[in-house]
Symmetry: C2
Subunit: 322 residues, 2 copies
Amino acid sequence: MSDDVQAVPVHDVITVGAGPAALTAAIYTTREDIETLLFERGVIGGLAAVTDKIDNYPGFFEGIEGLTLADNLQKQAERFGAVIEFGEVTALRDEGEFKVLETTSGTMKARAVLIATGSDYKKIGVPGELEFYGRGVHYCATCDGAFYRDKTLVVVGGGNSAIQEAMFLTRFTTHIDLLVRSTIKASDVLQQDLQKYVDDGKITVHLGVATDEIVGENNSVTKVLATKTETGEKLEFTPDGVFVFVGLLPNSQFLKDTPIELDEVGLVLSNEDLQTNMPGVFVAGDIRSGATMQVASAVGEGATAALKIREYLEDRKHPVQN
Amino acid sequence: MSDDVQAVPVHDVITVGAGPAALTAAIYTTREDIETLLFERGVIGGLAAVTDKIDNYPGFFEGIEGLTLADNLQKQAERFGAVIEFGEVTALRDEGEFKVLETTSGTMKARAVLIATGSDYKKIGVPGELEFYGRGVHYCATCDGAFYRDKTLVVVGGGNSAIQEAMFLTRFTTHIDLLVRSTIKASDVLQQDLQKYVDDGKITVHLGVATDEIVGENNSVTKVLATKTETGEKLEFTPDGVFVFVGLLPNSQFLKDTPIELDEVGLVLSNEDLQTNMPGVFVAGDIRSGATMQVASAVGEGATAALKIREYLEDRKHPVQN
């Protein structure tokens, strides 16, 4: 351990990320006088903050704007003493009693760490995609599918999740155009299932079709422009909305050179106590292997993680001996 | 299967209980057109509904009254089509595709069942205990401890949880009188830890003391009356509040004659998908082994359980074949 690192003040808890899971954990820890620093590289409130309307977060019976919910969570955590700083964690190492975090604001130390960096949805990177994010362009069927009752959709993607979610969305929609860039790369069972929806006229599959642009006006999508890659033929769809299912991007890059175990897509593995294989390092929310990408679940895991962190800290440090 | 049972309509999902976990699950299932009946024997909203103020439910930054939160959850579930009925489930059996529930309203059938009956805190059964419940008498240190910053408390109990929670509460309180009916029945480590708090003057332990009555006025506790059982000597304490830690009462009696596995205190065991050892029967909230007794966690598990129930139902029933 270098002198520099020894001179660094030790936080009780540092959360990497300040989305719903981390903010909830901080509500719990700081309310119990466990000093907590939240370290965020992007937006406080995470994906929730950039979601137009969240209809299924329990307790707001008419739904709540994502930004309002994020703001409430931040106010609640800060009310009990949580501190939020901006910057990026680049490395994390175990020095026994302390965890050392290398960050863009310098070296930091904490007795316990909560990894709560979340995951992003992969984008297809076409004009209009970001502009109409949450206003016609969606990435989560469970979250936003119900807004498309008796409507038509374009679904983009050809993997397991795209096929699964397209079939799921048919419970709301009258018709779905499924745009697949090359061929379908889903399990045989899913492909057989899909065929029934195709026979039934609920889904039309377009293979070898590249999505070029999402066009809209007045806060809603009006057109999707695409190209049949083999012939160059231009296609135009006029759905009420677009769902993109081309994968997840777990924000776990900073853990690559650590011993912390990730699953095959890069999500963080944990035990029943939400503890990773590095003692004192916990995980909650959309970055956890097994996550549901739901704010309600993230919040639940944040609360549970906070209680487990408290137990961990109490097992290691007798408060009276301070 | 008898003719009677065959004639019974089949629900997609029946939740046993209508607390935060079940209501959240119902928000998710019904929003996705999975028909759901909630079956409740007591109070809609469960323990949350009878909690005065919930300070740490994420999203309400100034706290929320338990009854208001319960009411919001109910409205939200009903908005999407959830139906709540009152009555008690007395037995549950697996008939493969269907689960059969015997209830005080007759036999019911469901494709999937969510056990969400919660747990109650054991009471000591003295005058004033129920009257001042949530208004000076508490059962959850994590929930209500922070309301007693710089105050004094009486803590009742002598087991592991009583000792653990009493020590935890000292981070808020100036002094705690710990009333133990007979002797302390906690682990050696905990007893050694406790001694340090005693030496420090933070906790005074009263062994062989029976709590007789909790006295209060104007929505707060003023006195605790007790008796030294050996001598009959009357004792009087004047704390700002009382915490009782004499155990949990999991509402799992109706599962006694089923094959569903319970842990040693009677909480329901489950796998990572919150599924019990009976296929199609899931569990969430305070009745689950590993539960934290926190609304946030219950709600998170309710959301996760709903998604797992949907997967379970889709794996078994192809919607297009209907």
